[in-house]
Symmetry: C2
Amino acid sequence: MDSTNHVNSNKITINDVADALGVSKTTVSRAISGKGRIGNETRTRVLNYISEHNYSPNVIAKGLATSRTYNIGFVIPGDYRIIDIPFFQKCLFSISETASELDYDVIVSTINGNDISHLERLITNHKVDGIILARTVENDPSIRYLLENHVPFVTLGTTDEEGVVQIDNDHFNACVELTSLLLLKGITNLGLIGGSKNHVVNHKRYDGYIKAHEKLDRTVNYENIYLDVNNMAGIDRAVDDLLEHGVHCIICMDDSICHHVLNKLSRDHMLVPQDVKIASFYDSALMEINSISNTAITSIKFDIQEMGSTACQTLINLSEGREVKPIQLLG
Amino acid sequence: MDSTNHVNSNKITINDVADALGVSKTTVSRAISGKGRIGNETRTRVLNYISEHNYSPNVIAKGLATSRTYNIGFVIPGDYRIIDIPFFQKCLFSISETASELDYDVIVSTINGNDISHLERLITNHKVDGIILARTVENDPSIRYLLENHVPFVTLGTTDEEGVVQIDNDHFNACVELTSLLLLKGITNLGLIGGSKNHVVNHKRYDGYIKAHEKLDRTVNYENIYLDVNNMAGIDRAVDDLLEHGVHCIICMDDSICHHVLNKLSRDHMLVPQDVKIASFYDSALMEINSISNTAITSIKFDIQEMGSTACQTLINLSEGREVKPIQLLG
DNA sequence: CATTAAAGAGCAACCGATTGCGCATTTGAA
DNA sequence: TTCAAATGCGCAATCGGTTGCTCTTTAATG
């Protein structure tokens, strides 16, 4: 084995190309970038040589000269709940694919609670040109850090912070749609269990729930709405209450809740959808899990792939100085 | 918004530090790296200044000078099966954490089938110092590519290729353990369903199954062993056959198979473990899924975290020219 | 034909670090 | 006291690109 172990230590450089063609490296650089003044004939001569000897520029050197890395950071919570994993994975695949097409790469980093040291390292070490932040809790220290340091970034999900570029699914309309669907199906006695009020998404969905009732001229049964439920005991209690109130269908504001609700019903030997219907939003592993538990639930599906790819595109536009739409709602 | 959008465009450089202290940048560099000749007093003076003004070196520039990027590539299949997702995610978290501690970052890239273009781009663009390859199919073109280009890499999983540094769980002994456990429990009529013979792991586990019988002086019932089963129809057939043979317990060689077997049994209204016991290896989402389906299976759990962290450590050692053990079996 | 603008190509500085080599000073041994 | 070795530090080249500026050649204009 090579004792130095340097990747591609014998690669040809721009100087080799220039020497071989009897031109200056300026010319080679211009042929590649397409910028600056260069004759047509010379350009093709250089380009041909390059593809024949398959030279490719050293991105590190390029980065030093241009202050760019052609890397983007994908930052996800390190304190994830198991149920959420596939969401990030799918985002990652989609972001990575889009980045590749644009000749970028993706560095993954995590935030553990309020410890944003990994993120800081990424920025101070000049490792990335921008960040896709896949965590939107309120009052996020990472958002403040990124703003203060003028780091180009977009969030995957909605946040209340001013002047932040956001990519998200249209949770409001999705919930209007889901709720309307159920109401129009003639299902009476709807119940709702909502997640942590720290996540803006829960507000949006709640608003959608109300809006659907308004549009269809139904009255909202506020007694059967349980908000800010964020632990298993709370969910158990909410389910007990709702069943006691004779609810026919429970809308879960996120998959984690749905997961626990199904679990609770299973413990109580209640059948879904025979005894009680369940509705939720498909942005996690829930559907795959369902293929085993054979539980039929009503759900709205998100196009996570589109979300990731849009986020990636937008971030690169942003970091390259192009104009971007500050808030993009998908689906 | 800043029109240039360069990350940290106003950061202080080694020259600023040198000027402020009236020393040369050589001295500053030496104070940081600890290499080269430098006086104690000067070193602490530099170090103090650095931490006060929290200067941190530009990794890009450092990379250009040293031919290193302080990035490692984590390469995973793009054509994943849903069931496998959490495995990679857990690896990624663990690798990322370990890398951070050693001041490295992780770039994630995918291989789609035999298309290794993303991997090639990663290498030719000098984006990484080495690769953790989380795909071990036989005759993998990526392994050949990495060997030919003298790229330091380790595989996550066992491969038959010569001279490849491999990190894996000890599948052989894990299967010896699992099988022995079942045999000693007094379970008679064991059945086995094995996955694709392209994956070396399946051979190891099969060997372990046989070995356990030998050690305990039991006879292997070869009639109840179904190898190289790699589609749902095959699994259905194997299960039918095994049940007909009066098997009391089915050992599944991987989680994907286990997943389908459970599904099949559910369709047939067979109860686990009352009607038939199921044993498998826990290296995927199966356990989380089970928390819903309430199916009790016997399983051996792997420490994926240790695997990721060992792989990361080993790769960095390798790429920095240190000696590493070529094959490391964990657990 | 003279004058000027435009086009093509190269020089050399620069990005921010590392590092081999050389010079001066200190240290220690004879 | 003297000379060699060790120590402390800096110069300048280097890594592999980009880019402002200059020079030369060509084309266009009156």
